[in-house]
Amino acid sequence: MSLARSWVRRPWRLAAELTALLVAAVVAFPLYWMLLSAFKPAGEIESTEPRPWTSSPSLDSFRRVFEQEAFGRYFVNSLLVAVSVVVASALIAFLAATAVTRFRFRFRTTLLIMFLVAQMVPVEALTIPMFFLMRDFGLLNTLGSLILPHIAFSLPFAILMLRGFVKAVPKSLEEAAYLDGASRARFLWQILLPLVLPGLVATSVFSFISAWNDFLFAKSFIISDTSQSTLPMALLVFYKPDEPDWGGVMAASTVMTIPVLLFFVLVQRRLVSGLGGAVKD
């Protein structure tokens, strides 16, 4: 790093820093515009002279979003789905990642290749068979029809990414634990799990996002019982192709983005080092 700095002479660094700030502003602009539009009064949103500020912020759009029938219900449903997916896939992926990194066994490489192949399966293409499967399970119109598929779809990537973290725990620690008389289960849950936890959190981001973002399954599997619907459906209510209620869309988008944003900010540092660790090895 220090070397990288000394390569570049001063004016170049200033130019680089200005560019970085400019790019940051451009990248952040859509989010800023979303927030701004959510707080603009109706007249200012539907204005042909959009201004990058508002002189009279209003909560009207948010009110429309929250007054929507069962909006709170949608929010809780979305949260339930995302949290169930995160917890279940983290535990299952942790066990599987431990198996493929800390043991040598037949078909180990085959399995790894299969996980690699599995993560490229286009989720959307499986909507059709998944629909029939959920119908046979009797899960249509329940949150289960959203939770189960997302656990399956987030597992392969989670396992592949967790490998780096599980591998990083030194073998000597495992041997020491066994020498001290710890059982395999004890080592797994009381020593390995806490050590891998940062990685588990970083991995969770991906399963959280995929579950939280999903609108295709919600749209296809929750057909008649709208009380089981999730947030994206509440957003799409405002988004009518010909006459969208932009204020409502932006306010609902804000409500939907904030939990993910919070999650990202909380795990940010772990995510960066986690990706480095997962890919570096």
Partner: protein, 312 residues
Amino acid sequence: MTRTVARQTAPAPAQPRGGARTRAGWTPWLYLAPALVVLGGLLVYPVYQLGLISFLEYTQAQVSGGEPTSFRGLANYCELFADEQFWQVLVATVGFAAACVVATLAVGCALAVLLTRVRAVPRLALMLAALGAWATPAITGSTVWLFLFDPDFGPVDRLLGLGDHSWTYGRYSAFFLVLLEVVWCSFPFVMVTVYAGIRAVPGEVLEAAALDGASQWRIWRSVLTPMLRPILVVVTVQSVIWDFKVFTQIYVMTGGGGIAGQNLVLNVYAYQKAFASSQYSLGSAIGVVMLLVLLAVTLGYLRLLRRQGEEL
């Protein structure tokens, strides 16, 4: 991707011999059992069913149980391949995915390099902005970008002085708009990963190269690029897989595939065939085509890994 795996796993006699070893024989499978059950039931079986449906006559009548399903062999595929629109959509999908991958990688890598050249404050600003874009759900990102480029109320047309130019009307400008959103939400992954990779390159290596009189360009080309290769391969393959499967952005931003389906990509096309016109078997056949294309990408990646002598 896994240079140290070989180092760590090859000398594996840490496992005690004898009885303990046979017990170890079952333990990994015990740990794998939940994952295998879930993946088998909810991924492998649906994929199998997808293939099966693509060979059947499967429309609304069969779904409701009104008519029995009948085996059609390759008839669905013949119908699909005879359809001009399918080829048009396939070409559009490949072209669109390629453009997205190239743009995402170019932006992501350039910004990763930029991150190594700036001090803490601009770095933090760029990092936070990127994380914000990354965290934005695809559906909200799509609606926000659409609003930014809205012909009546969006700021972009005003800023560029385009009057009430509609971005979603023309085929290519609609694809371009979707591309912008896709790049916006997927470059952070590339940037953060490549940046982490560059930081992991030991300083001594660069110092040694500089002492040997290598120019900056030379250091990039001959030292950093080879060291970053595994990471670049991973982010490229990951981007190809993600961008080939783009669904939400196209579906939301172009209203389900654009005017007269001009902006359809395979994923949306399959969905429209299946759920909008109840041709489940045709939709499944499109899904199978997608799977095969992505499988080819993955196999190519595995061959690349093997050729580099890397173990999974």
